[in-house]
Amino acid sequence: MSLRSPLRRVTGLGSAKGGAAHWYAQRVTAVALVLLGLWFAFALATLGGASHARVIDWLSTPLASALAVLLVLTAAYHALLGLQVIFEDYVADKGTRTGVLLAVKFALVVTAVIGVLAVLRIAFGVAA
């Protein structure tokens, strides 16, 4: 005998969980990253040698800081979704998989926060 009812034990099994939202978020962030990625690549290519003052001048403009924050957040989210699928596919053991996914998510979120704080620091002129 168990405290859990037979219905509770079968609901949620299989793949019918939150897959649609995951799938859709992966595509939405993909479209955003096409634009943000091309913007960032073009910006780097036109930095003219990228002295520190030059990078600060560029990155502290409101448009560049806003897009840089968006780039960091969107890239972290897109990477998180993609890496999750890969680890779910290749790591068979549920305990190991859960541990790896937690580590990946923590690493990406912490790094994203550092990235956003760095851009804000540049935007508000503390480092200049």
């Binding site: 600060i56 780039l71 890239a75 790094t111």
Partner: protein, 131 residues
């Protein structure tokens, strides 16, 4: 109950062809770009930390090994971007004709090579050759 032989995953017995090559490359470049994300934040943090730390980061990123990894990241960016757009069209229901899918696959592979090289030299010039 006796254990029945389990079905094999498709990649263990399917013939190797261009479709799964492009697909696994999308995953590999995705993983490389995830690693590149950490480099991006390292670079942003170095800019925010002031001229000395920024110069130190440029020296680090200018080492031959780092340059090789950055080239991999730039190529991955181009491939993942082009093949990602190809997949977005698949998701909308376009491009499934054998001929179309094959042509778009080749376009992605060649486009990534050309765009990757062009972007590498453009970004290197923009960043002053250091990183």
């Amino acid at each position: 109950m006796a254990q029945r032989a389990r079905p094999l995953s498709p990649f263990l017995h399917y013939r190797w062809q261009y479709t799964n090559t492009l697909s696994i490359l999308h995953r590999i470049t995705g993983v490389l770009l995830s690693l590149g994300f950490f480099v991006l934040v390292y670079w942003l943090a170095a800019v925010a930390a002031g001229p000395e730390r920024y110069q130190a980061a440029r020296d680090t990123l200018g080492s031959p090994l780092a340059q090789l990894m950055l080239f991999g990241a730039v190529f991955s960016f181009c491939y993942h971007l082009l093949n990602g757009v190809r997949h977005l069209f698949f998701d909308m229901g376009y491009g499934f004709e054998l001929k179309t899918a094959r042509t778009s696959g080749w376009a992605v592979a060649l486009g990534a090579l050309v765009l990757g090289l062009a972007l590498w030299f453009a970004v290197r010039a923009g960043l002053g050759g250091a990183a």
